[in-house]
Structures are given as structure tokens and as C-alpha cells.
């Protein structure tokens, strides 16, 4: 399903709505105003995904580019290695999810990073020991080269059967 200009206008309205100061750029505080996002355990992480390293504001093209990761995958696209990978392909979606884990962007999800995510998703509901066990098991299962961290390839391999195209996609109405 293609994105039409009307959809872009709709997204721009949303962008303008979020941009409380009318500056043409979104800041961290603007995202934090979204109530449902405050309720999401990894809300802050998702907000962070919109900002490039070192940037403090997001303009509209960057806003749309990040949202475009969630466009439904075009299954009929011919695999053409000369073309750049579209931002909503399976690989790009995986990269997006990977970066949610890998906050320091060193290409690996370290044990500490994994623990941090678990802490956010589970909060006060489990003890620290249980968090460590869960992290241990997860790394054990995915870490193939035994370096106590999960690289992007290992991440991709462990999720090879998951229906990412469906689960990481948002559909526009009409």
C-alpha cells in the first residue's frame, strides 16, 4: 500500500500538533507530551530513536523517515543489490529494533544493554537476580561466537522465523 500525499499531510498535521512551540522542529519534551507514550515501558527509548546522535531536534523529513520504518513491507519488491535497502524492508526493521537495544551503537548488544532493556520492560515486577538470569539465558541462546554479546547477524539469525513484516508494521486507514 503506497503512502499518498494525503497521508503525508496527515502526518504533517500530527507533527505540527506535537510541535507545541511552533518551531518547525520537535524536541524531547514534545514527544514526552504524548500520554500513551509515557505509559510505554520503553517509551524513552523509542523517543531516542527519532534523534540522531548529537541532535536535539527532529525536523519533519527525519520524523517521516523514522516512521517509514513501520510501513508495511513491499513483498513484491525484486531483490536488487544495486538499489539501496528500502527503509521498510525486513532488514531495516530488524536494524531499527536492534538499535533500540544497542544504545551505544557499537554494533553489539552487550549484556549490560540487555539488562537495561529488561529493567525497563519489567520494572519493579522482578528482582535483579531474575533479570540477570533472563539476560543470561537470552545471550546464551543467541550468542553464537561466544563473545558475550549479540551482534546484528546473531540478532537477525535468532529472529529468522519471526513474522517481522507484520508485527513491525503500521497501516494507514484508507
Amino acid at each position: 500500500m503506497k503512502i499518498s500525499p494525503a497521508h503525508i499531510i496527515r502526518l504533517y498535521d500530527r507533527f505540527e500538533f506535537l510541535d507545541k512551540e511552533g518551531s518547525g522542529q520537535l524536541r524531547l519534551e514534545d514527544f514526552a507530551e504524548v500520554k500513551e507514550l509515557a505509559m510505554n515501558p520503553i517509551g524513552d527509548r523509542i523517543i531516542g530513536a527519532f534523534f540522531s546522535p548529537g541532535q536535539e531536534t527532529v525536523d519533519f523529513p527525519s520524523f517521516v523517515r523514522i516512521l517509514a520504518h513501520f510501513r508495511p513491507t513491499d513483498k513484491n519488491r525484486a531483490k536488487d543489490s544495486t538499489q539501496p535497502e528500502p527503509v521498510n524492508s525486513r532488514t531495516s526493521k530488524l536494524k531499527f529494533a536492534f538499535q533500540l537495544y544497542d544504545q551505544d551503537r557499537d554494533g553489539k548488544i552487550s549484556r549490560a544493554e540487555l539488562l537495561q532493556v529488561l529493567r525497563e520492560m519489567l520494572g519493579m515486577q522482578v528482582t535483579e537476580e531474575q533479570l540477570e538470569s533472563i539476560a543470561d539465558r537470552a545471550i546464551q541462546e543467541a550468542d553464537l561466537d561466544r563473545d558475550d554479546a549479540i551482534s546484528f547477524e546473531e540478532f537477525r539469525k535468532s529472529l529468522e522465523k519471526v513474522n517481522i513484516e507484520h508485527k513491525m508494521s503500521i497501516r494507514f486507514l484508507r
Partner: protein, 420 residues
């Protein structure tokens, strides 16, 4: 009957106006921005548990029901939900005015201004003339008359000794003045199920969209109002009203004391000779597409609750008061310069708190009934979210739900009483 014909004609006129705009846009080969009345994106109504299990199921061959364990793919659910709420969230939508499918010749509800043809502009100009030049002054005069009479007559009645005569006169005066105010707004109100009208000793509960709600309900029956005493003109009106019949006004300082408030309310309902109390439990104005969480205070008192659903037809004039955007006077002027306010009022059958039901459950039951009748969406969200921050308890709820499906043995979960 005549009113129905009027509103029908107006509605047809608006549809025609919209068609003209669409035609204008097509001629210029531009894409029309069509406001979607509800949502931009398709949200699946599956729960956290269902979705995460589905993701895991597709990713592994293991028998899932035996092992609730964390999977790397779990993050997809939260990521998607997060991005969905950035694109379109349920709560903020409720606090801005509802978007219309067709244009009702009021610039305030139009987004495609530059596609209007000359013919339409002329019509719109005519509309402005009529509304501001004729209707508005007429209505303002009526409003002043209504309010003035209310203050004057209730003060006079207040001089009478308490008794049947006083109550009778007070009723008549209140009704008359409210009806004048209704005319001042040109409100076309349809009342349904009047046999369920609130009786003495009960509490009338309604959804809240604007201060006009009060006028609409009070022009059809007599209620004891509840509220905070204001200064200025409002205060004058409040003070004179209470001379004629017992309304419940609180000083600002008393409002914080919940026990005092509850006591005064229960004292009032116990006195069967006193009028039913009118309360809006949402606590703030919502934009009339949904009903938000009802504050439980009014439901703890233990008397019969008479729910009332009020639904405005937004095509004729958006009655929602966005108090963070417009002040009261500004709002009233906008109301009086719209075409008309068309709304429906449903009196629902009385409800009582049942055995074993606590105030919150009772409040939710009443809320669901009102939402169903008025065709509004029943939301769990708190009206207080309009201004405040989301409480951490919501995030904890999500974490709790998630922990149930990601931690292997249940005795690992922290016992809330700390017995583990």
C-alpha cells in the same frame, strides 16, 4: 417538528457546501485534505499478551504454553505500540475539537479554505452577516435578559418565608430563566425518555462537554447545583440563586476537603424535600466523542443515581469548551455566533450501587451506560490527563502484564506484600 425540518435543511446545505469545495479542489487538480473523524492508522485491538505470544509463536518451534520466557522479539510489540501512539494517540484526540466530514460554513471548522469558489465565498459572507449582524446581538440581548431576570427574581423570592409557595415560585423562575438562556443560544434540544427524570433525593450524573450542559439540563427540570463559588458575575448569579432554593456552593478552601464535600452532599440527598443534585463526574470538559473516567466521589454517597447522556451534533456548532485554548467569554461568543446548538438528551433509568460493588465499579457501570446511550466511546482514561502527567501506575500496569508472560516461574514475581 418545525425544528427537525430546520436542522435537516441546514444539514443538506452543509453537504452541498462540501461538495462544492471538493469540486473546486478537483478542478485545480489538488489533493483535498480529508479530515478523518476518528483515526489515521489502523490499530489492532489485541492485548499485550495475545500479541507477544503471537510474535513468539511465529519465531520458534517450541511449545509456548509451557514456557513463559523473555524473547528478543518481545520488543517489537512495545516499539510498534510506541510509534503508533506517536502517530495517533487516543487521549489527546479527545481534548481537541472533533473534526467534521463536511463543512458547516464556519471558518473555525474548515481546513480547505483556499478551495472555495466565488459562489461559496459569497454564501459564507452572507452567513457571517446573518450570524454576527443579526443572530448575535439578538442572542446576547436574550442572554442578558435571562441572566438579569434570574438574579432579580431569585433575590425577591429569597425574601419569602420557606415553604411550598417559595419552592413553587423558585421552580417556575429557574425554569423560565433557563429557557430564555436556551433561546439565547438557539439550542435545539431533543429530550428522550422523560419518564426517567431525576427525582428528589437522588443524584443526577451526566457527561460534560461544556458549561452549556447545565443550562440544557436545568431548562427541563430543577436541580440543586454543586460547584465552587466564583468571583465576578458568576458569583453574583450563584449567590442570588441560592437565596431561592438550596444549591451547594463551596468556598475554594472547602473544595479540597473531600470529607466535607461528601458530608454536605449526603446531607442534601437525605432531605427528600430537596432537589436532586446535578454532578458532572468527569471533572472537566471532554470533546463529546467519548466519556472519560468518572471520579468516584459522587458514587460513594449511596443514593440513587440518575444517569443522563448528552450528545451534541457537531455539524451545527461545536459545543466543546477547550478551556486551555479559550476563555469563558470567548467561548460564549463563539457559541452565540454559531448557527445553532443541536443536541440530544437521554434520561437513563435510575441505578443503585449493588451488593459487593465498590464506588469505582459502580462509577464505571454508570459511565458505560451513558457512553452506550450517547454513542460515545467509553474510555478508561482520566479526564485529569488533559493537564497533568500520566501517573506511573499506568506504566506499572504494562510492566506487570508483561512480567506475567516473560518470567518462568510465578514464585519469582515479587509478592506485593513482601512476604516472599
Amino acid at each position: 417538528m418545525k425544528k427537525k425540518v430546520q436542522s435537516h435543511n441546514l444539514a443538506m446545505f452543509y453537504d452541498w457546501a462540501t461538495l462544492r469545495i471538493e469540486r473546486g479542489a478537483k478542478e485545480k487538480n489538488h489533493l483535498l485534505y480529508k479530515p478523518y473523524s476518528n483515526a489515521i492508522i489502523a490499530k489492532e485491538p489485541t492485548s499485550l499478551e495475545e500479541e507477544i505470544k503471537e510474535i513468539r509463536r511465529s519465531g520458534s518451534n517450541r511449545d509456548l504454553d509451557s514456557a513463559s520466557e523473555f524473547e528478543m522479539s518481545d520488543i517489537f510489540y512495545f516499539a510498534r505500540r510506541g510509534v503508533e501512539s506517536i502517530m495517533d494517540d487516543e487521549v489527546t484526540k479527545r481534548f481537541s475539537a472533533e473534526e467534521l466530514e463536511s463543512w458547516n460554513l464556519l471558518t473555525r471548522s474548515n481546513y480547505n479554505f483556499h478551495y472555495i469558489s466565488l459562489r461559496l465565498t459569497v454564501l459564507w459572507g452572507l452567513g457571517v452577516l446573518i450570524r454576527y449582524g443579526f443572530l448575535l446581538p439578538l442572542r446576547v440581548t436574550l442572554a442578558f435578559t435571562g441572566v438579569g431576570l434570574l438574579v432579580f427574581l431569585t433575590s425577591i423570592i429569597g425574601l419569602l418565608p420557606n415553604g411550598r409557595m417559595k419552592n413553587f415560585l423558585s421552580e417556575k423562575v429557574h425554569l423560565m430563566c433557563y429557557r430564555i438562556c436556551v433561546r439565547a443560544l438557539t439550542a435545539i434540544i431533543t429530550y428522550h425518555d422523560r419518564e426517567n427524570k431525576p427525582k428528589n433525593g437522588g443524584i443526577c450524573v451526566a457527561n460534560h462537554t461544556s458549561p452549556i450542559d447545565v443550562i440544557i439540563l436545568a431548562s427541563d427540570g430543577c436541580y440543586a447545583m454543586v460547584g465552587q463559588i466564583h468571583g465576578g458575575l458568576m458569583g453574583v448569579i450563584q449567590r442570588s440563586m441560592v437565596k431561592a432554593c438550596p444549591h451547594i456552593w463551596f468556598e475554594r478552601s472547602e473544595v479540597k476537603d473531600r470529607h466535607l464535600v461528601a458530608k454536605r452532599l449526603s446531607d442534601h440527598v437525605e432531605d427528600k424535600s430537596k432537589l436532586p443534585i446535578l454532578i458532572f463526574p468527569e471533572g472537566t470538559c471532554i470533546n463529546n466523542t467519548s466519556v472519560m473516567m468518572f471520579k468516584k466521589g459522587s458514587f460513594e454517597i449511596g443514593s440513587t443515581v440518575y444517569p443522563v447522556a448528552i450528545k451534541y451534533d457537531p455539524r451545527f456548532g461545536d459545543a466543546f469548551w477547550n478551556s486551555s485554548k479559550f476563555g469563558m467569554v470567548n467561548y460564549l461568543l463563539r457559541m452565540m455566533s454559531s448557527w445553532a446548538i443541536v443536541c440530544s438528551v437521554w434520561y437513563l433509568p435510575p441505578m443503585c450501587r449493588e451488593e459487593g460493588e465498590d464506588a469505582v465499579q459502580f462509577a464505571n457501570r454508570v459511565k458505560a451506560a451513558i457512553a452506550r446511550q450517547g454513542g460515545l466511546v467509553d474510555l478508561l482514561w482520566d479526564g485529569g490527563l488533559k493537564r497533568g502527567k500520566v501517573k506511573d501506575t499506568f506504566k506499572e500496569e504494562q510492566q506487570k502484564l508483561y512480567s506475567k508472560i516473560s518470567c518462568m516461574e510465578t514464585d519469582w514475581l515479587r509478592d506485593p506484600l513482601g512476604h516472599h
